[in-house]
Symmetry: D2
Subunit: 380 residues, 4 copies
């Protein structure tokens, strides 16, 4: 019995971590089926991945351009493609599928250049296609609760934002060992593969997207430092932003902050209270109403249960984890796809879009631009 | 292309929380396929669930006995059945499938009576069948790390154990409101549906199983109080255990402990250090070596990475959550099934078995027996 | 200019940790002056301590009996004596001063034998003297807030109690090293110096006193295990109590629980909510109202500020620490002393009394008695 | 019997919180005696405070200038004066006592203008006097451990600093209520009383001092935003600093960050590990060595015990609190005073000095200057 939605994937073979996450996240809900793919430029990996997911051999492609062309020509062609290639291919693959009229979900970053991003935004709009970006952390239940509480005025008018994304997995880059493995450095040195930024591009953009998602605030301008510690690209960056309403926020991202694994922490302070969310403990949301004590909200508390709605899949107290965040993004994308097929309005769909992806690219350019220009303000 | 393993399910229609968890957990890995089911005694639910998972109508059964008979007769019959029915049916369903030579995975508790449990253990053994019990929390990566560290002697000889499982979802039972919804009470009052215990049976057994899993300690005797607060069955229980090696431990389980959601916390103290794990923050393990400061281990730290092995599916710092714990249990069960098919020894397989299920039933009877006998020691 | 209250001290020379704590705690408020002492049986220590506190040489005594006699005979004799001797001397010193009509503050434990405790209670009552016991933890601001919130019904009728006091400083006793320093063992082996219990007497009694102080619950009976690990006295004990109202609680105390420094943690669960206090983070109180999220109350929050009243000495957010807990006990004792001098009623004074000390002695005897009697229930 | 050191106090009557803290902190150790004072310009408060501390009436002054003159003329005059007046008087009072050859301890901020600070530094140097500033947080035991660990290279060369000081007590200033109490605003609006900054001056300087104390890093330049929310002075400020060695750090201070009481948090990241200290839980220090898991060090752990040395006054696990931090600063100041009297070198004395005070004033001016100059870099 066929499922409602058919999808294909470019990149993300079994040996690539993120491809599996995408497929399992889609599998969480039972409406979409993987039917085509160009998973790897290594033929054996390509076939192996297809077999693991029972993809018919006739729809396993060596070339993503061939895949876009053939799938768009089939009656039962894919409804959307999920792009899980290395970053430097995002732009061209997305453009190819959009051009063939196929909806897209793409890993972040959307692309490297602002002009590329603007082109993709325009293309999606002109073709009337859905284009989702997997900014994972917006999929967590408590992220959505945070967004709703702010929208409802629970913390009042926002007065200050403090956000950070700290990791330590590149600490070795601070004190390189003679003769040690250099793969990392290759990626870090060649803008062809990494664009103009390493740390800001990889994790700083999550801060930018997350804060925008939960608060609705838009950055007007920013200034920044970006530390390379002798390498070609940044490993640590401090950023001060000014939103369009004149409020300031401070962002910090780092891949050399020993003691932090995947520490996205966002705190929003308003005139009536504050909210804090930590990615490593995603089922909790610290809420302090003005005049009261800090409360540790979780998915199932009375008030929250309603807010969390369908995003929460299991009883409170049972950790949901990253897969469910991912699954929520895909579920909302697929729901919108079904609605669109049925002629419904999907303008209110709750998933990060190509426009969010473009904002991320602009953010990266502004941060690196400021850092290279004596930390002066850069307009966005 | 067919998957390696075919499975069926009894109970667990789409409207039942736990059935979905089982199916998604199995889906995490790509080796088993749902091909048969008797998901509900409500025909529409049964069909609806089958359709959601593309189960062929000819293998959707109204009666689990028919399912056991027909599936065992097919060449392409199911390799195992997953039992997600209400607790009072576990025994008879498991017995039926075992009798027909089909491997079983069953939700806990295994059954209500010790004799039933012993019968199932014997049946599985005589038939040479695998029988897994989904004691979920043993599937977490850091649980396995804890087990390995104890086995390796990292905390030395065990001197004391402190474990608790605190929830608050039944706090209303302490002050029942006139005319309020009484469904809960029905379940709580009729031993036909709940056996002799509510709280100890539902969550106390997780403590018993978890401590045994990570330490290897076997309970020799125990004494207990069990509080019913005017209801037929227990809602809160304090237990002191004595293991076969003479060491004592204290267990506490409660469903009326306001402020605790799903608080399984296990602390093991040895002569060389201690380990503590909390279910609500499952990616961390607090380790204090003698003479040192407490350390917060997580899945990816050097030493741990190796220990965690295949149990850890995503990079450290990204929360894994309950589904992966579940998936790990099923993965190990399915691996053992494949090994068994290939004639390999599966005696070292890492999943909770029917014997663990029987230990749980004995534990429940000892606790309730002691509580009813002036908290005197009960041998296990 | 003379202060309102004059006090003396027995024991607690400069080389003894606890003597200094007592003196500094008294010094926190400016109403009492140290004017006499018998600080040590080592003459140089005695004199040295006297000089450090400007105690006039004529009131430095070699013998506490002489001190009691002479001070009671002086017009300007001490108003109270603070007893900071080793535990085995508490009884005789307290008795001596009471007999001479001098008010007493004594370190816990009050004494070793129940009969001794009863004698001291009677003596204080007959003489109309104040007798305080420094159960330190009742002096913390948030402890008093906890007590008041429970008294006000914020958590409703109590349904369960969970309390522990875990330390690790005696972990070496689990694996004694040949030829190592044996001082500890001497103290632990001779009941003359330590009474019948080590761990329960030293820290278990703090649990007993704390729970009683905040809840008002009285223990009707208890059962226990007590682990000696080959030594003469206990190092770890699990206790189940039944209060006079039929509710159960579980206590655990340990000096071999690696990873715990001075971990007194008390949780009280009621039908309308729960409260949790941790000694290592004493400025906070976790309160979960039924139907709400856990809140982290601290000393200065609106509602709490009023409750905390005079106990809180510095603005919230600035840690108060152990000295202030101690100072609060002495302040209340000294206020009562002044009130008594002025003929006021002091029956509502808020400090632990000789009766609380006696309860502690009874508790110790019940725990050790139960442990030696196959963990059977012992009435208190 | 006279104590070794005599001191006087200007400001800090019994009704002023901080005066009491100073006196109790000095009292913690038994070497200094309060013998003179000009505690308040309200005569009754002045006398009342003197009496509470048994200060002889002849040394209670209505005028601090008279006090400086008369005390400096006495044979038994004060060895040092402690200044606890409102901030705007610090400069003139300190100058007066220095001019009369009396050593000084002064609350922070040292003064309002850089020139004033430079004058005080020069005066103290020329006169050969000790001048301490009570930057409280440097007195905590774990702060000193952090300083020593960094000095010993435990985290290697510093690569990044993240520090914040968040409070919420002025959140009402974000949404002023018509007709509400306006005292605060008076202080905030008149630079005569508050200088050029509110938040940065009050708490931002603690960050500056603390980071310098533990790391030894000196700020070369900084840029900042400072938010006034319609008031005359700042309530929230984001700062990016560049130290002389080229490393960057980010500081944030706020008095409107709901949910934070007195949240000074300092994190230092090096090439070999990181250290984090939180003022609200001052007895702990989070240390993550490269390649290892985070450890929660506390005052008494083997390695630490030695480092903490005399700063730690009570056994680990017993919270020390703010008073001991204060007492440690005074103790080191008084020890230096005694050493100086005895002709010893005191250049290595461990307490914040007038030079640190001057650095704070320069920091305030740079932050406010940058904020008013489009957040451009300001050299220090």
């Amino acid at each position: 019995m066929a499922k409602q939605i058919r999808y294909g994937m470019v990149g993300g073979d079994l040996h690539a971590f993120i491809g599996e996450v995408h497929r399992k996240a889609i599998n969480f809900d039972t409406r979409a089926e993987l039917v085509a793919g160009c998973f790897s430029n290594i033929p054996e990996y390509n076939v192996e991945t297809a077999e693991a997911y029972c993809v018919n051999g006739s729809r396993v492609y060596d070339d993503y351009k061939e895949m876009a062309a053939k799938e768009s020509a089939r009656e039962d062609g894919i409804d959307f493609v999920s792009i899980a290639t290395p970053n430097f291919l995002h732009y061209e693959v997305a453009k190819e599928f959009l051009s063939h009229g196929i909806n897209v979900v793409c890993e972040k970053p959307l692309c490297f250049e602002i002009e590329q991003g603007e082109e993709l935004v325009k293309l999606a709009k002109d073709k009337g296609l859905l284009f989702g970006i997997t900014y994972t952390y917006t999929g967590y239940t408590m992220t959505k609760v945070m967004k709703e509480m702010i929208a409802e005025g629970k913390i009042g008018k926002i007065a200050s934002v403090s956000a950070e994304y700290a990791q330590d997995w590149l600490i070795n880059e601070l004190s390189p060992v003679e003769g040690a493995q250099e793969n990392l450095s290759v990626w870090r040195k060649d803008p062809k593969y990494s664009g103009i930024s390493n740390c800001v591009g990889d994790i700083g953009t999550h801060i930018e997207n997350y804060v925008h998602y939960v608060t609705g605030l838009k950055i007007k301008r920013l200034l920044a430092t970006a530390n390379t510690y002798g390498h070609a690209l940044d490993l640590n960056s401090n950023i001060i932003v000014e939103y369009e309403n004149g409020v300031n926020g401070a962002y910090w991202c780092s891949q050399i902050a020993m003691g932090h694994l995947n520490g996205l922490v966002v705190r929003v302070f308003g005139e009536l209270g504050s909210l804090e969310w930590q990615q490593e403990h995603p089922d909790y949301l610290r809420f302090t109403p003005k005049g009261g004590a800090p409360q540790m909200l979780s998915r199932g508390d009375g008030y929250i249960k309603e807010k969390a709605g369908a995003s929460s899949r299991i009883p409170v107290g049972h950790p949901e984890g990253l897969y469910i965040a991912f699954a929520n993004i895909y579920r909302n994308f697929i729901s919108a796809l079904i609605d669109k097929k049925n002629g419904k309005d999907v303008s209110g769909a709750d998933f990060p879009t190509v426009s969010d992806g473009l904002s991320g690219v602009k953010f990266i350019h502004a941060v690196i631009g400021s850092a290279k220009n004596n930390s002066s303000w850069m307009e966005l």
